[in-house]
């Protein structure tokens, strides 16, 4: 994909290889936007965590990645949506260590720590939308 011409990506995530693909695309866009090596990997890792949440809890979802500009500052926007079971108690899910699924359950709070801005919207039975942003420092 020629990232120079299109600064917005939309990818379906339903398997492990999708997780790798979407985080690599995210990393490429981050690189194009001028994020440092470390920031690129931080972003890719956050995308990986969120994508993994989708695959584990909702089986399928969509992740959109786009570039942002705000008063000359550049940034990356990631929106992950699924129509899965939703999170009943967002506050609880955001606590470190909380999990209903397998593993460390660090998806949401972990990703929040990695990004500059982070929002979760979710309703039980209606799905979840995670919006995260990071700005080039």
């Amino acid at each position: 994909m020629n990232l120079k011409s299109s600064k917005e990506l939309s990818l379906t995530v339903r398997s492990g290889s999708d997780i790798v693909a979407v985080r690599q695309q995210g990393r490429e866009l981050a690189s194009h936007l001028g994020f440092s090596d470390v920031e690129q990997i931080v972003i890719a890792t956050a995308i990986s965590e969120i994508a993994r949440n989708i695959v584990e809890y909702a089986q399928e979802g969509k992740i959109q990645i786009a570039s942002l500009v705000n008063s000359g500052k550049k940034g990356i926007l990631i929106v992950a949506q699924d129509s899965g079971p939703g999170i009943t108690d967002i506050a609880q899910a955001m606590q470190v260590g909380y999990t209903t699924g397998k593993g460390l359950g660090l998806g949401l709070p972990g990703a929040q720590r990695l990004m500059d801005e982070f929002e979760v919207e979710s309703q039980k039975g209606k799905g979840t939308t995670v919006t995260m942003k990071k700005w080039v420092s």
Partner: protein, 116 residues
């Protein structure tokens, strides 16, 4: 893509060549467990130099690898975690527990030889 595992004396060395899918990582776990048992290796070194992202699944699986290998009486050393990856991991709060780590393959072998 299956991760190649080399036998070097008492040790097994698994060098990850490219970004791994979840299945590949789980396969590596099973392959290492099997081969450690088969060759009665004293230790396994997993080289993750090439991995640019280690997320919670990767860390879980690496810890699972170490656990399974320990059950067979052997030690695991993870080598090659890159600065950016180490940084992201601690930001995410991911730890490798008491799994040994070394800078690279050379250091990993030096460490194991010292243990001998």
């Amino acid at each position: 893509m299956r991760v190649p595992i080399l036998k070097q004396g008492d040790y097994l060395i698994a060098s990850i060549q490219s970004a791994l899918s979840d299945e590949d990582l789980l396969q590596l776990r099973d392959d290492l467990a099997e081969q450690v048992g088969k060759f009665r290796s004293r230790a396994a070194i997993v080289d993750v130099t090439v991995l640019d992202v280690m997320d919670s699944f990767a860390v879980r699986t690496v810890r699972a690898i170490a656990h399974m290998i320990r059950l067979r009486g052997a030690e695991t050393v993870i080598v090659g975690i890159q600065p950016e990856v180490a940084f992201s991991m601690v930001q995410l709060g991911l730890t490798l527990g008491d799994v040994a780590t070394a800078l690279d393959l050379e250091e990993g072998l030096a460490y194991l030889n010292q243990q001998a």
